[in-house]
């Protein structure tokens, strides 16, 4: 395991205690896992009307913002309002609804409209493909360098254990571009372009994926950049621009929330050897140490799809996200007892930490001689 704390530049107020991320014994890990399982079981047994009402209320709210946004484009002076409403709609749809529904968090309801096998979200990435790379690859192999493609998404260098290359000098630029074009980055993620370049993957393997992406892109583009603008007649350019801005706002917001999930200082990564034949307890342990939370109010949690509780989400990816805040108290209490770190902080602090890492990882490691001797 490597801990991405910054020895020299570590500010005094950073709460990451190196001792806190020490290895637990196999027995402790089993106990830790059992306590996590107990939380999971308790919540599962309690799922019911309150959870169903919540998600249906959120869907209704989102549809309201969406319809309001589309309609306000007919009033040119209300353009900023229209963009704001549509941006909010897209953010809630992608994060609190899409991401969470496609995780299977509401499959127990048996409602086809809220089922992970049927749902597709309002962005250019086909849900079917995202579920493979996200639910399976990322959530199973979280933060295992070499297996979790979400460490840098095949574009960025986000961990010491990723070998440096002069290409990574562009790290901050790539990160900025990924932020602006985030939905496109997410859509292309499954094509594993970095593996194509490295010759580890053939173009023919991508044929079907590529067709799926193009189908989704076409539908999204026709909706946002042709039909809705055309429906506003002479206001076509304004509506077109407004839809583009709403998609951009969603991209920037989603990127920032998601980058705070695994990249702030203090988040641990793991090697494949460490995770060979790992126990359920170790899997929980890796999820905990490999994720970071963002503190905030109720509205912030809704707008982040409760990914502000990334730790709880990674421990219990299939529990309805509205449960994460209540669970987080128990998780923190358990972490304290086991002497495990619980990485959390306000958005500004976590973002600053991520930005610093993006820049730092652009440069070659400081002790190349020592690295080479490994």
């Amino acid at each position: 395991m490597s801990i991405a704390y910054e020895n020299e530049t570590l500010p005094a107020d950073v709460e990451i205690d190196v001792e806190a991320v020490k290895k637990l014994t196999a027995e402790q890990l089993d106990q830790f896992g059992a306590e996590m399982d107990a939380i999971r079981q308790r919540v599962l047994a309690d799922l019911g009307e309150a959870d169903a009402d919540y998600i249906r209320k959120v869907v209704k709210l989102q549809r309201g913002f969406e319809v309001a946004g589309r309609a306000l484009f007919y009033l040119p002076p209300a353009w900023p309002l229209a963009v704001a409403a549509l941006s909010v709609s897209k953010i809630i749809e992608n994060m609190e609804i899409g991401h969470n529904v496609m995780h299977g968090q509401y499959d127990w309801m048996g409602d086809p409209g809220l089922n992970s096998r049927m749902y597709d979200w309002d962005n250019v990435c086909p849900g079917e493909q995202w579920k493979y790379s996200h639910n399976y690859i990322h959530h199973t192999f979280t933060n295992i360098v070499g297996k979790d493609r979400d460490i840098g998404y095949g574009i960025l260098r986000m961990d010491e254990d990723q070998k440096w290359h002069p290409y990574y000098l562009g790290n901050p630029v790539y990160a900025f571009l990924l932020m602006v074009f985030f939905e496109w980055g997410v859509a292309m993620h499954d094509l594993e372009v970095e593996n194509l370049v490295a010759g580890k993957r053939s173009i023919s393997e991508n044929k079907e994926l590529h067709a799926g992406i193009m189908r989704k892109v076409r539908r999204q583009a026709v909706k946002d950049y042709l039909l809705f603008p055309a429906l506003t007649g002479p206001l076509f350019p304004l509506t077109f621009a407004g839809n583009a801005v709403a998609n951009l706002v969603r991209n920037v917001w989603a990127f920032n929330i998601i980058f705070c999930g695994h990249f702030p200082a203090g988040v641990a990564t793991f090697s494949e050897e460490e995770c060979e034949n790992e126990s359920r307890g170790h899997w929980y342990y890796r999820q905990l140490l490999g994720s970071a939370n963002i503190t905030g109010g109720k509205l912030f949690h809704l707008m982040s799809g409760n990914l502000s509780h990334q730790i709880e989400h990674h421990l219990f990816p299939d529990l309805p996200a509205r449960r994460y805040p209540e669970i987080s108290h128990e998780v923190q209490e358990i972490c304290e007892r086991y002497g495990l770190g619980y990485n959390t902080g306000p958005l500004g602090k976590q973002l600053f930490s991520v930005a610093k890492k993006i820049c730092k990882m652009a440069l070659p490691p400081r002790q190349p001689a020592e690295q080479a001797s490994h």
């Binding site: 079981q41 549809r63 048996g110 309002d122």
Partner: protein
Amino acid sequence: MSTTAPLGTPLARLGQGLLRSRVLAALTTPHGVDRYLEMVNPMWAAEEVRARVVSIDRETSGAGAPVATITLQPTATWRGHRAGQYVQVGVDLPGSAKRMTRCFTVSSAASVPGERITLTVRAHDEGQVSKFLVGEAVPGQMVHLSQAQGDFTLDESPATPTNNHLLFITGGSGITPAMSILRTLLRDGYDGKAGRKVTFLHYAQSAEDQIFADELAAIAAADNDVDVHLRYGDHVFSEFELRRLVPAFADTDTWACGPAGLMALIADTYAASPRLRTEFFKAPRTTVGPAEGEVSFERSGETAANSGATLLEQAEALGLKPEFGCRMGICFSCTSRKTEGTVRNVLTGVESSLPGEDIQICVTTPVGDCAVEL
């Protein structure tokens, strides 16, 4: 049955055409028109079929499980049904908020698109949906429907008189499809007559448990070509009695529907006569105990003794290649439909015997006999 369908009018047809148009589909992608319409009015739909409960009328007063006739006003998307067909009915159960879906025969005469229909339902002790519909549903409530399904139908015109003798043999709530056919014959035939000789033989627990008692008495008394024979209690089906009522039964078009015991006797009597059409009410299999029973994978036709391993492992042991991801119950890649049998979730220890249930096969073991769509 009155046609309250608001969709016969040209205006309504135009509306339906608009709702199903490609433009509206493109504007509402990826969610579809229905996900927006349902927010405004649950009776508005472009593709899905829903229905509003109009009334619930008790049919029986006997000691057996209560029976009620539920009158439903479907959405304009209901394409109508042929007499004898059934429909899948989904209800969101209060409390658990889980949607349960079960099949029920339509008991009213053949319907046209958008027309009201009735279901006649017996509230089985273990039947959550039937108990809800009979005991808890209230007028105004919405239920989810499929289009009509099934081939246990009258395959000749009910409006054209013929000399083709028709025979119905039913038991208990198996009377419903035969009743739908009989009602259609009397409604569409000439001058209240079925237009051909009809023999209607039914077995019920007692006179108090007789469904449609008044209507059957009226049909029996009227001059309409229909002979009604009702048998109660220990009076079981016999070839002797059938031969007395319909000497040429083996050469008579026959529809039989009822509990397994009755159906076995009828099948023996008819041997391999192609004139016999049957519809079974499946009795749930209830073997209990660890690593007992037989696991069948329906799509591949593979069957093997239950080894106690997860369904995914058992499927793979038989050479099947079901889709899977994490193999630890978090990614939902392997979700498959269990059609019958009891299964245990190895993570939660919860056992479930619901038919037609989606399960994660990587964390589910069979408890006794079990069938999965794989």
